[in-house]
Subunit: 253 residues, 2 copies
C-alpha cells in the first residue's frame, strides 16, 4: 500500500488519530466498516472529532486463521482466544469442535501474542496470517471464517485536503434539527440531483440523548452538482462536515 | 419491571433470543441502544433473525461505580477492569489517576466477579451497583461516568404479537434494491404522511457485501395512516418486517 513506510504502534485508536494530527505520523489507515460486522462506530466518532481528511479507501478480504505456538497440534487445543467479532465469524468451527472453548480477547493479533507469550500448549488464537509471522506462531488451519464474503473497508487519512485524480466518492457527516421529515429533506438534496448515496449510518451525539449525527457516502467527487448538493444540505442541516473526497475502491480484490 | 419474575442466566445473546423462542422463558429484555455508545448492533441482527415482537421499551440511566473487594482502599487500586465501553465512558477518572491502568474485560458485571473471585488487592472493576451486591463487592466511588446523560434503551420481547394500549411507536426493518434514490423513496412514505421517524440505523446484510438492512423507529402505532405507510413501503422495499408496536418511553426517568 505504502512501500517503505514505517509502521508506528499506537496503544489506542485515539492515538492513531492524534499522532497524525500532531505530525508524529504522516498517514493513518483505519478500518471503518466490515461487510459482516458493520461499522467501526468509534472510528466514525474520531473522524468527526479530528481534522483529518480521507484520501483513499481500500477493501481487504479478511481471512481468519487458527494460530498456536510451534509444536502444538490441533487436537491439543481446548481454548481459542480472539476478538469477539472474529470468534463470532468462525461459529461453524466451534460447532464442529464442541470441546473447544471460545475465549473473548481484546484484539485478534493481541490474542496471538498472548497465547505465544504464555507458551500455552492447550490454546490457540484466531487472527490474520501476519500475526503468526510477527509473533512466531504456526497456522494450524487457514480460512476458519464461516462466510468468505468477509471484507473490511479501510480509510487512509491525511492532515491535508489533497484530492486524488479520479476521486469520485465523498464522505460527509451532518446533523439535523429534531423535526419530522428532516432526514427525508436532507436526502432530497442528493436524490433530486441523481446523486447515488451508497451508505448512511447514524451515531448518537454525546450528551444529547436520542439525537444523532449521520454519516453518508455518495458517488460524486468535486463538481458543480456535488457542490450544489452540499450547499443545499447546509441550508437544511445544523452542520455539515466533509470527511473526504477519494476514488471509490472496486467491489472485489 | 416484572415483579416476581424469575431471571434466567444466558451465556450468549443468542441464547437470550432462543430461550424465549422455544418457550424456555416468557420474555427477554435486551439493551438496544446507548445514548453515548450507540446501537447494540448484534441485537438488531437478532431481532431480524428471530420471530419475537417488541412489546415495550424502557430507558434506564446508566451509572458506573468503582467496585473492589471488601477492605481494598481506593489508594491501593492500580488496575481497573471493565467492558471497553464502560472504561471509555470514565475517561476523566483515568486522566486524574494516571497510575491506574484501564484493563478491558468482556463484561461489566463479569469484571466485578473476576476481581472478587481472584481476591485482587490492587484492582477494582467498573460496573452498576447491583453487581457489587450480587458478588459481595464494595463501591469505592459512585457516579464515575464523565457524562451524566448516559441512558440505555431496552426492548422487552415476547413471542406473541400483543399490542399494549397506548402503543404509539413502531420499529421496523427493511431492505432496498441497490438503486439511486431508494432510501429517499422509502423515507417519503413517512414524510408524505407527516409520520415522525425518530431513528434510522443501517446494518450490513450477511454474505452480500455493501448491501444493508435499515432499522427504523417512528411515532405511530396501529392506525390507518400507519398501515398505509407500511403498505406503501412494501411497494418500494425488497422486504419489510415489523419488529414491534409499543408505547414510547419518556425521555427521562
Amino acid at each position: 500500500m505504502l512501500p517503505g513506510a514505517k509502521v508506528v504502534p499506537c496503544a489506542t485508536l485515539k492515538d492513531v488519530f492524534e499522532r497524525v494530527t500532531v505530525k508524529d505520523a504522516d498517514v493513518a489507515v483505519v478500518p471503518i466498516e466490515n461487510s459482516l460486522a458493520g461499522s467501526v462506530a468509534e472510528h466514525y466518532d474520531m473522524l468527526l472529532a479530528h481534522e483529518l481528511f480521507v484520501q483513499q479507501e481500500f477493501l481487504l478480504r479478511i481471512e481468519h486463521n487458527l494460530i498456536a505456538a510451534p509444536g502444538v497440534k490441533t487436537g491439543q487445543v481446548r481454548k481459542v482466544y480472539s476478538h469477539p467479532v472474529a470468534l463470532e465469524q468462525c461459529r461453524e468451527f466451534f460447532r464442529k469442535n464442541r470441546n473447544v472453548q471460545a475465549v473473548p480477547f481484546y484484539d485478534t493479533a493481541g490474542s496471538v501474542a498472548h497465547v505465544l507469550r504464555e507458551r500455552m500448549q492447550d490454546a490457540a488464537a484466531i487472527a490474520g496470517k501476519r500475526a503468526a509471522d510477527v509473533y512466531g506462531g504456526k497456522v494450524l488451519r487457514a480460512g476458519l471464517e464461516d462466510n468468505k464474503q468477509n471484507f473490511t473497508r479501510f480509510f487512509l487519512l491525511r492532515r491535508d485536503r489533497r484530492v486524488l485524480v479520479g476521486a469520485d466518492k465523498t464522505s460527509i457527516a451532518f446533523a439535523l434539527r429534531n423535526i419530522p421529515g428532516a432526514l427525508f429533506k436532507a436526502l432530497s438534496v442528493f436524490a433530486l440531483r441523481d446523486i447515488n448515496l451508497t451508505r448512511i449510518e447514524s451515531r448518537p451525539i454525546q450528551g444529547r440523548p436520542w439525537e444523532y449525527v449521520f454519516f453518508a457516502d455518495y458517488l460524486r467527487g468535486e463538481n458543480e452538482a456535488a457542490e450544489r448538493a452540499l450547499g443545499h444540505l447546509r441550508e437544511i442541516a445544523d452542520f455539515v462536515k466533509v470527511l473526504g473526497i477519494y476514488p471509490a475502491a472496486g467491489k472485489k480484490r
